[in-house]
Symmetry: C2
Subunit: 234 residues, 2 copies
Amino acid sequence: MYGPRTIERTHNSKPPNGELVSADLSRAIHEHRLAPGTKLGEDELADIYGVSRTIIRTALQRLAHGQLVEIHRNRGAFVAKPTPKEALEIFEARELLEPRTAHSAALRATAEDITALNAHITKEHEAVASNDRGLALYLSGQLHVQIAKIAGQSTIADFVETLISRSSLIVALYWKRESALCESHAHHSLVSAIEANDATLAEELMVSHLVDLHSALDLRDVPEVATSLKDILG
Amino acid sequence: MYGPRTIERTHNSKPPNGELVSADLSRAIHEHRLAPGTKLGEDELADIYGVSRTIIRTALQRLAHGQLVEIHRNRGAFVAKPTPKEALEIFEARELLEPRTAHSAALRATAEDITALNAHITKEHEAVASNDRGLALYLSGQLHVQIAKIAGQSTIADFVETLISRSSLIVALYWKRESALCESHAHHSLVSAIEANDATLAEELMVSHLVDLHSALDLRDVPEVATSLKDILG
DNA sequence: GAGCACAATATTGTATACAAAACGTGATGC
DNA sequence: GCATCACGTTTTGTATACAATATTGTGCTC
């Protein structure tokens, strides 16, 4: 089992459009409520969100572009399942981009940025404390996104955002130790370095943090989590 | 004037789907047949391509995700018009990613890769010789994409691809000298370095090539190219 | 009973119909 | 003369209907 796989629409008064639906699905994937390989049927989603397939379709296409879902023609949409090779590439890309964003962020961070980062860390702690593994995972990724945005290079921040999203899938598939998110410490010292405007230290901490994450993956095994039998036996 | 703004569908037997339409539009933007700011009306495009608005819509959304077009809710889709700030960011991102791809490409290039690169260069020369500025521009960008793909990091290659696309818009808006594409030389020496597996040289050549391109832009002026009067006077 | 052909079903792809929002035009009032 | 408002037109947003393709189930043949 893999925990609840339900998607629930938040009870907003307004009918959701494609953007909202994709955001909601994206969040569900981040939080591991939707496992890699899960089929995302259009009619099913249309029922859940109370909209027509038109909306669902645009949402799925949006997610497909971010490579969070794979769309196979005439076969439907599935939560993406990065291969070990792709996983490796994604982490290599992160190791290329993120140290630089940490460096820039340390140089550019304003007082409000620092406040926001610390608030974020607090929320992370709360999520861990209340055993909400999904939320903790999501927030953990979002901290990296936030740092990239502070760096003030929105183009690269966008890239980092997609890498973080896909990393969530990778964690779902290849994470080694069940002990899991002991990374709060890393995040805390990273934010401290940014707060102190110590760019070099921030960069180094980011490198080692990413190496840590990377080394906590087991990319040698082919993952067969929650997939069709055909994939396993084929 | 800005050259012909027509979009023409290639006479293929099969009716085009969203992917084909977006590829066609993308190419038209690359080749500067569609200027930044041009409105892309759905009905108009549906007529041109002989499909329903459904297809056009998915194509436009796809392009919007790649930031080649901007979609304003209830107002329609327009060919994107990067600001000077965005243009700067895009070139900074290229300067971060592409030297590394050139380096890796030099190490990894196979005989077939080299053949393809040289064939590409030949096509570039032909385009320049036949005064097909649009095609020359397109091919010029594609060489960078090809190098990124040879580097074998598909994630980063995707990033480079979007950066190249957007660079085409930037050239349309901010290119300084009309003399233009004297870069054939740069491409030729770059490919030679890759062919010789000289990674360090390839990286250096890429850096200087990008600096060259970058310095050929005039990012201080706010561009008002081919826009509606309202934009200018608003 | 195994394998295959074919029909029934379900799901996606595309086109169209309808609703809502923005735009343009022209009349009206100051 | 200018601004403003109201109406009609145009264009986009959403839902639904229909077509095409894949999947599943059934029965036939060997």
